[in-house]
């Protein structure tokens, strides 16, 4: 296998892009990534997306987006793994370059959720669970995660406020990210006083509905300097799945897919969790952030919430996490989120994260989740000097 580097990244601001189509969103990010990589040549395109079939009644995104960025005829496919679609697309792009099949590969993620009404968004996202046994009951993803949060608090006797601190951390970081959907700080009190969406989950513990697109250009590491002076190497790209439906799991409070993907990634990269300088976790809900931290090996079971509450995940903390706002405050344009995470880590490792720069960051890790950890994708990136 060849080593793979990231040589171009870009993203659009996450938000309500009422006047921009799905295709135009992708085009904006894709063309900017090509500019960033100083290349007009793309051998293959992988597009991460979950909901276009429902939201825009648009399938066949591979051919559509290849054409949109001026590259008709390029091998191109859509990759779908629910909210992990973006991470899964990167994994596909990585394997394509690593195998030697393609040299310059674009990986994009795009989602436009605001074409749907809120209840339609909930229905679209429920496609990530088992329709036959779970979705048909009418429960939403907020509902599923609320059950997990309640169980976690009861089982481990954890205060709700500790879990909710994850949202406070995200918002603080997003305040200085020009691409963030919610670039403002919120207090813990504000989070805890926000309306209940599904008991015990409050509104400000949940990601909003947003549109956005992000893109990367990958190439073999040995050719990276042809494109950029600051290539970032992908040390590991792993993907794992667990039981799709929550009701089939023996243990609802352990993210098995994340644990498996992370163990493989640490092994491939030859590092442990605390060797990571900057971390992106998939905190679609505060409780998902907590369980992700535990599964990634940053704490034992039942202690993950303390990481945020004690300030360990804050900028300047022991493991700076979601340094540009995470899902909660940068935003969660579903199928693009995994690509946003890796684009943001690339900026951090290049030293180009502006006010949010983690000083001297050399190793970054991103964890992207589909469903309630039914799919997990982990990427470990390293600066190469």
């Amino acid at each position: 296998m060849r080593k793979v580097a990231i040589v171009g990244v870009s993203c659009t601001k996450v938000g309500e892009h009422w006047e921009t189509s799905l295709r135009d969103l992708f085009t904006q990010a894709g063309l900017k990534a090509m500019d960033d990589a100083n290349t007009a040549k793309i051998d293959a395109l992988y597009v991460g997306n979950m909901c276009a079939d429902k939201a825009q009644e648009q399938g066949h995104l591979g051919a559509l987006m290849a054409d949109a960025i001026g590259l008709p005829g390029t091998p191109a496919v859509k990759v779908e793994a629910a909210c992990a679609s973006g991470g899964a697309a990167i994994h596909q792009g990585f394997t394509a370059v690593a195998s030697g099949l393609y040299d310059t590969v674009m990986v994009g993620g795009v989602e436009k959720m605001t074409d749907l009404q809120t209840e339609e968004v909930s229905a679209a996202l429920m496609m990530a669970e088992n329709r036959e046994y779970t979705g048909f009951t009418g429960i939403t993803f907020v509902g599923l995660n609320a059950l997990v949060e309640r169980l976690y608090m009861e089982t481990h006797q954890v205060k709700h406020e500790e879990i909710a601190t994850f949202a406070v951390n995200d918002h603080k970081n997003a305040a200085t990210n020009p691409y963030a959907q919610y670039p403002f700080p919120v207090s813990l009190e504000t989070v805890m006083n926000s309306p209940l969406v599904a008991d015990p989950l409050h509104l400000l513990e949940c990601t909003g509905i947003g549109d956005g697109a992000a893109a990367l250009v990958l190439c073999p590491a040995e050719r990276a300097r042809e494109f950029t002076d600051t290539p970032i190497q992908i040390s590991a790209s792993t993907i794992a799945t667990s039981k799709l439906a929550m009701y089939e799991r023996d243990d609802l409070l352990t993210f098995q897919a994340t644990r498996k993907a992370a163990e493989s990634a640490y092994k491939l990269a030859g590092i442990g969790p605390w060797d990571v300088d900057v971390l992106e976790v998939h905190d679609a809900f505060t409780i998902v952030g907590v369980l992700s931290m535990e599964a990634l090996g940053y704490s034992e079971r039942g202690k993950g919430a303390r990481l945020a509450a004690e300030g360990q995940t804050a900028a300047g903390g022991r493991i700076p996490t979601n340094t540009l706002g995470g899902l909660k405050a940068r935003g969660h344009p579903v199928g693009a989120t995994g690509v946003y995470q890796v684009a943001e880590l690339t900026w951090q490792l290049r030293g180009g994260a502006g006010k949010n720069q983690v000083s001297g960051a050399e190793v970054g890790m991103a964890q992207n989740v589909g469903g309630v950890d039914s799919t997990a994708v982990v990427h470990i990136l390293r600066r190469t000097n």
């Binding site: 309500e16 009422w18 605001t114 009404q117 309306p195």
Partner: protein
């Protein structure tokens, strides 16, 4: 747009039905948790009231303040989206009831919540051109929201009538100019034959309400070479309590400037009646020489902006008919069951 000859408001009147339902009562019925609602309470019609009866009440009050013979009205336009008859003008009934028939121009206007201010513009133009001596424009609605829908909290009943004529000693507010901004934006609609409207959720915000109002307001101010600081008061369409406050802040108007005309928290969204009623409430307390900005918003979508300068005779005229805030305070609370009967959601 500026009239060729100077035109002003010579009379105005508003009417708010007596009944109120609290937002908390609607939330109770639908099992909605919390205590944060788009408004506090809204006005509801009685069993014998509809758009036409509200328009007539408001028109009578406007005539009292105008101190004119109704026969002098050359035009009566009613802007509404809740006409009692799908085919048969509301304007004819109103004109007949106030004694303005038969030599009168009449039509009903529809442009969601800005139908009333479209009638303003027509009357201003007719009076300015000399085609009519006085023209009456009424913005009125008895809007309905689908049970359980977010709109049910706000869709309310009320209206206001304004009489326009050439500038004279009888003018209580002079029209400086008007400006319209219209785009094809489907944020809220009701198909033919449907009883309840549909809306596109958050799309009704930034790309619809806020865009149109801001473009109309800034367009008018540019045309008249005025700044927000030149206005003493501002009235924006009031679909809920939050939107008018937010758009005022964005445009650079303080809370104090919108306060006299901000009725939505206590009477709800009276649709085509909304911004005209806000203007009426503002005229109830404005002093001569003060300038008022009014911007309506109609889904579909568009905004009409107006600049008025209050004239001397406002003080002697305002007490010739009931003031708006007095009607706000004249109320009787009903529960959801009575509300359902009044709004014909249940029938014997």
């Amino acid at each position: 747009m500026k009239p060729i000859q100077q035109v002003g408001i010579v009379g105005y009147g508003a009417y708010i039905p007596r009944y109120r339902i609290k937002a908390a009562e609607i939330a109770r019925v639908w099992g909605v948790a919390g205590d944060r609602f788009p408004i506090d309470e809204k006005a509801v019609v009685g069993l014998d009231e509809d758009t036409i009866t509200i328009a007539v009440e408001a028109a009578k009050y406007a005539l009292r303040r105008a101190r004119i013979d109704p026969c002098e009205l050359g035009a009566v336009y009613v802007g509404t989206e809740s006409k009692p008859y799908a085919v048969k003008p509301s304007g004819t009934v109103v004109a007949e009831a106030i004694g303005a028939t038969p030599n009168v121009l009449t039509a009903d206007y529809e442009f969601a919540c800005k139908a009333g201010t479209e009638a303003f513009q027509t009357c201003i133009a007719l009076a300015s051109s000399g085609m009519v001596k006085y023209g009456m424009a009424v913005g009125v609605d008895t809007a309905q929201g689908r049970p359980g829908d977010e709109l049910e909290y706000t869709a309310a009943c009320g209206g206001a009538a304004f009489i326009f004529g050439l500038r004279s000693e009888n003018t209580l507010a002079l029209v400086e100019g008007t400006y319209s901004y219209v785009t094809d934006t489907s944020d809220f609609w009701r198909r033919d034959g449907e009883f309840y409207p549909c809306h596109a959720g958050r799309f009704t915000g930034d790309p619809a309400y806020f865009r149109q109002i801001k473009c109309a307001a800034t367009g008018l101010m540019k045309e008249l070479q005025l700044q927000p600081g030149d206005f003493d008061y501002a009235v924006f369409h009031q679909p809920n309590a939050k939107f008018p406050s937010s758009v005022a802040k964005d445009l650079g108007f303080s809370t104090e400037k919108i306060k006299p005309g901000l009725l939505s928290p206590v009477i709800g969204n009276t649709y085509a009646g909304s911004s005209p009623m806000g203007l009426a409430a503002t005229l109830d307390s404005a002093k001569p020489g003060q300038r008022i900005l009014m911007v309506s918003y109609g889904s579909g979508a568009g905004s009409d902006a107006f600049s008025f300068v209050v004239q001397n005779c406002v003080a002697e005229k305002r007490d010739l008919a009931p003031r708006v805030w007095g009607m706000v305070d004249r109320k009787k609370y009903i529960d959801y069951a009575v509300y359902a009967r009044h709004r014909r959601k249940i029938q014997a």
